[in-house]
Every structure is written in C-alpha cells, then in structure tokens.
C-alpha cells in the first residue's frame, strides 16, 4: 500500500519535472537577450531535474540513496555553473537588452576589456 502511494507520488513528481523542462525551453525561445534567457532556463531545468530524480527515487525505493546524492550534487553545482555562464557572457561582450534599466557592473573592473589594475 505504501509502495503504491509512493509510486503515484513519483509519477506526479516526474510530470512536474517535465512541465518545468518545457517552461525552461519556452523561456529560452521567448526571452529577449542572453541574461533573461539564462535566468529563465537555468533555474527551471535545475528544479525539473531534481524533481524527476526524486520521483524515480520514490518509484524505486532501493535507489533513493543514490538519487539523493544526485540531487545534492545538482543543487551544489547548478548555481556555480549559472554564475560562470553569466560572467562569461558579460565579459565576452554580449550587449544587454535595450529595456535594461541599470547595469551595476558598468565602469567596474568586471567591465569587458578593462583589466584589474
């Protein structure tokens, strides 16, 4: 009985993850510049992957420990990867969207082409 309930909860979690993947893909197409696309896609795909892994771990309870290991690894590395991507996009000179109100890195040492000294 408990196993059946966990199975259905796992299927629902897998569908939630798939819907978040689709939302990330739509945001990747619809958003105007690379920074908006990044904030639409990285967080949703991270949540979708974590949800699918947890759903599979609930459907197959012997795999739950390794599923939790994968979830912890994703939660540790996805923000690092997103931050590195944003830095790389800014430093390689991708222009901001024309509707951007404020650029807090303007004139700072992280501005593109300006060295640290």
């Amino acid at each position: 009985m408990i196993a059946l309930i966990l199975y259905y909860i796992g299927i629902v979690l897998c569908f939630i993850g798939a819907v978040f993947f689709i939302l990330g893909g739509i945001g990747l197409i619809r958003m105007p510049d690379v920074y908006n696309r990044m904030q639409a896609s990285t967080k949703t795909t991270t949540l979708g992957l974590m949800s699918i892994v947890l759903g599979v771990g609930l459907m197959q309870p012997g795999w739950l420990l390794k599923a939790i290991i994968i979830i912890v690894f994703i939660a540790l590395t996805a923000p690092v990867g997103a931050s590195a991507m944003a830095r790389a996009a800014y430093k390689s000179g991708v222009p901001l969207w024309e509707g951007t109100k404020i650029d807090q890195c303007e004139g700072e040492p992280c501005k593109r082409g300006v060295k640290k000294e």
Partner: protein, 86 residues
C-alpha cells in the same frame, strides 16, 4: 496505462529538447548557445534516469551521475574559454 504515461513523459522531454535546440542553432552569440547546451544536458540527464527506471538497471543511475559531473566540468571549461581566461 503505464506505457502511455511514460510515453507522454518522454515526449514532453523531447519537446523541451527541441525547444532548446532551436536556440542552440539560431543563437545570435556564443553565450546563447552555451546556455541552450546547458539546458539540453539537464534534459538529457533527466531522460537518462527515466531510461534507468524503465529498463530497471541500477547501473544507469551511476551513468546519470557521471554525466552530470562531466557536463558541469565541460560547462566551466566553455565559460572560462569565453571570458578569455583559458
């Protein structure tokens, strides 16, 4: 019943892959392609663990973990290359 459910699930993941593939092909800059590739690797990891469940083999979960580690390392390398530090 369960077959239709998992077929729908994998079809949703395929649709998400194609949505990201559009941005990977048509991205105006290299950073757009990098972001799209990161989304595709995440979708692929989810697909791998679904395949692990459907085939019932525990070894594919390890494959998913190694794939996640390697995609992270590759993403860091590409980001360092784009910002000129490599």
């Amino acid at each position: 019943m369960m077959d239709i459910l998992f077929f729908t699930l994998i079809s949703l993941l395929a649709i998400a892959t194609f949505l990201a593939l559009y941005r990977l092909i048509r991205g105006p800059s290299a950073a757009d392609r990098m972001v799209a590739l990161d989304a595709i690797t995440n979708v692929t990891a989810g697909l791998l663990i679904l395949i692990a469940f459907l085939s019932g083999r525990f070894i594919y979960v390890d494959v998913t973990l190694v794939f996640a580690i390697l995609s992270f390392v590759g993403l860091i390398v590409v980001a360092r290359y784009l910002e000129g530090g490599l």
